[in-house]
Amino acid sequence: MTAARCVVATFFVSVATIGACKLGSSAAHDGDATSTDGGQRGCRDNDACAADEYCQYTPGLCGRGSSAGTCRRKPVSCQDTYSPVCGCNGIVFDNECAARAARVDLAAIGGCHTVPDWASCGARYCDVFTSYCEIYLSDVPEPPTTYTCKPLPLDCKPDRGTSRSCECFPSGTACLTFCGFIQTGSLPGFHLTCQGVKEPK
């Protein structure tokens, strides 16, 4: 699987469900990491994993959730694709693979610094020129709040005019009742947030 496909995969797919991108030569190792005895190994941090593994948490609360994480093999190489993600160490990585290679899991609720022209959307960032962040808020103590980069409607694209307003979204767009801007340090992005309603499957 190529890195380009990985970027595409960040659209339409929720952070909660996407899992690690399968990158380069790591694809063969990208299944569930196994311990030497062949079983999945639980972890609370990287110390519990082998040197070529990282601790992946589900949900992605960086070890703060009630469930233990799982040791997974880190990628051995990554493509040079820019699709920024927020790591559990607060650092923005160029892409998910780079974070995994550094043995860093993704922070499902974000918390990293802003990236110009990329709108923070859970653990990921949405390209404000082409996408917006759709959020379905959880109603249980831990995520599955889902954050998804969705394609921008034509009228919302920056080249359609200088003023950006939530009115550019067609009526009936999901989650439009709570629409706002995401600051990026340059061109802001949009978020559309749903609360109290079921996320379509």
């Binding site: 962040c133 808020l137 249980v140 599955p144 709040t145 009742t177 600051q183 109290g196």
Partner: protein, 521 residues
């Protein structure tokens, strides 16, 4: 007689409140700063922290939220019967649009995007801030209570209960603070889920109908009782040995809900009920692939609730509790009627302790009726009209089931509905009752055909209703507004704990108001 407090006691009380307030204002997580908008507000249960990188800085939090957070915590403690484990930290995050439980430093609290607190939606300023901070706090308490609630109608995939709590708590705090903006927000949030709303959901309406059917129309106390009964039996939904969702899991939840309501609420959930409420437990697909629709069994729910009663009546034996907890309620032996039969239960004709609604009417004994009709449902908004009250259960040996309650309306222009009619008790005469409307027009009770008229009783104050017409014969009128019951019920435990908890909250609020007054001085 006027009480005089010594200066020492007054000083001690003041210092106590101040110290507690200082605790609440303790350190925020790294990268966050205490909201200056709340610096003059003595907070003991919650604090507000703004992420340093928030573009609007300290202006992100309107002052009205300071006290709101405090009351959110107090209310959730009461509803869930679970005390906060510390000061609840509300964080305003720079990240936009989201919300989550837990703080930035893995603490007790929740985070909401800063942009939720400004701007208007649905005619209320800061609508999303009120809603999301409350909603995340509810999620925290939900997690502290029990996991495994039915995903097809309670929470997780379908969010009926959290959505219900959202608008009910917003309305309650808005009323308490006389905050018209918050009241508008609460009405709007309710409107989203009622017919015609942008997120209309019959399940939310169905649970709201149950909320209003709780004893005395007090849904908070009712659900609090439900959580207490479940916790008291040590029942955890995920220990029932069934998947989620599943019919048995739902029947258990409905069973405990019915015990708290002292009536079988299955039909309210199945619908169609008031305002179209329903679609729970009635074989309606929930829309999630793989979830199979099912219909809950009234007989099973009765058996689950009666198993709870029998276990209590038998002294809560470990083996019996284990059976109930593992889903094997059918193996719980029946329990005797007597002093150990709790107030959510009653005695049947065979003298067994059973679910309250399965209890046999009394046969014309000599006890006076003591249980007035339960409160009618209450409308929320100023223009709402309270719907008809549910039938009250008249206690007393002379009456069987009796008296319906008058409907009520919260707001000043609301109009109370008419009181219902009564059912005559078997053998003896039943006392007719009519609860008054809380405010607005009073409900009119209808006398029993063969009972003694009972006086109307307000649920939460306000204008008195018209007393029920006197019937003929029977025993003297029963007391109104109390909750004890028939033969078995008379021996039962009084449901005073929730009231005590609410009183305690009121006391704390009064102390805070006093401290605030002092601070202003």
């Amino acid at each position: 007689m006027r009480l005089r407090l010594s200066p020492a006691i007054g000083l001690a009380a003041f210092l106590g409140v101040t110290a507690a307030a200082t605790r609440a204002q303790a350190q925020c997580c790294s990268g966050y700063t205490l909201a200056t908008a709340c610096s003059g507000v003595p907070l003991t249960k919650a604090r507000w922290c703004i992420q340093n990188s928030a573009p609007t800085g300290q202006a992100a939090l309107p002052p009205a939220f300071c006290d709101y957070g405090e009351k959110v915590v107090s209310t959730l403690e009461t509803v869930f019967n679970i005390k906060a484990t510390g000061v609840f930290e509300f964080e305003l995050d720079t990240q936009t649009g989201g919300a989550h439980t837990g703080t930035a430093c893995n603490g007790f609290g929740a985070g909401v995007a800063y942009d939720a607190f400004v701007g208007s939606a649905y005619g209320a300023t800061g609508f999303w801030g009120y809603l999301l901070s409350l909603h995340e706090a509810i999620n925290v308490w939900t997690g502290m209570s029990s996991s495994g609630w039915p995903t097809d109608w309670w929470a997780d995939h379908q969010s009926a209960f959290p959505n219900l709590m959202d608008f009910r708590i917003m309305n309650t705090i808005g009323t308490s603070n006389n905050d018209q903006n918050l009241l508008r927000a609460g009405v709007a949030q309710k409107g989203r889920f009622y017919p015609g709303g942008d997120s209309a959901d019959p399940k939310v309406v169905a649970l709201d109908n149950v909320y209003m059917a709780m004893p005395n129309g007090d849904g908070f106390a009712g659900f609090s009782q439900m959580f207490a009964l479940q916790s008291g039996d040590g029942v955890k939904w995920d220990s029932l040995g069934v998947p989620n969702p599943d019919v048995k899991r739902s029947e258990y939840v409905v069973g405990f809900m019915s015990l708290a309501a002292k009536q079988l609420v299955l039909k309210l959930l199945q619908g169609p009920g008031a305002n179209g409420g329903g679609n729970i437990c009635n074989n309606t697909p929930d829309g999630t692939p793989g979830d199979q629709p099912y219909t809950c069994s009234e007989a099973n729910i009765n058996a689950i609730a009666t198993a709870h009663c029998a276990i209590a009546a038998n002294g809560k034996q470990t083996a019996h509790l284990a059976s109930l907890r593992s889903g094997n309620y059918a193996s719980v032996p029946s329990g005797p009627c007597g002093s150990t039969c709790p107030s959510e239960c009653a005695c049947d004709a065979a003298n067994h302790c059973v679910a309250y609604w399965l209890g046999a009417p009394n046969d014309g004994g000599t006890d006076a009726g003591v249980d007035a009709g339960t409160g009618g449902t209450r409308g929320d908004a100023a223009t709402d009209i309270g719907s008809a009250g549910g039938g009250g259960v008249a206690g007393g040996g002379s009456g069987g089931r009796a008296g319906a309650s008058g409907a009520t309306a919260d707001a000043s222009t609301g109009t109370g509905g008419a009181g219902g009619t009564i059912d005559s008790g078997r053998g003896g005469a039943s006392g007719a009752t009519a609860d008054a409307a809380t405010t607005g027009g009073g409900g009119t009770g209808t006398g029993g055909t063969s009972g003694t008229g009972g006086a109307g009783a307000g649920v939460t104050g306000g204008g008195a209703g018209t007393p029920g017409n006197a019937g003929t014969g029977g025993k003297p009128a029963g007391d109104t507004g109390s909750n004890s019951g028939c033969g078995c019920r008379a021996f039962g435990r009084d449901r005073s704990e929730p009231r005590a908890a609410i009183s305690l909250v009121a006391l704390v609020m009064a102390a805070m108001a006093l401290a605030r007054t002092r601070a202003r001085r």
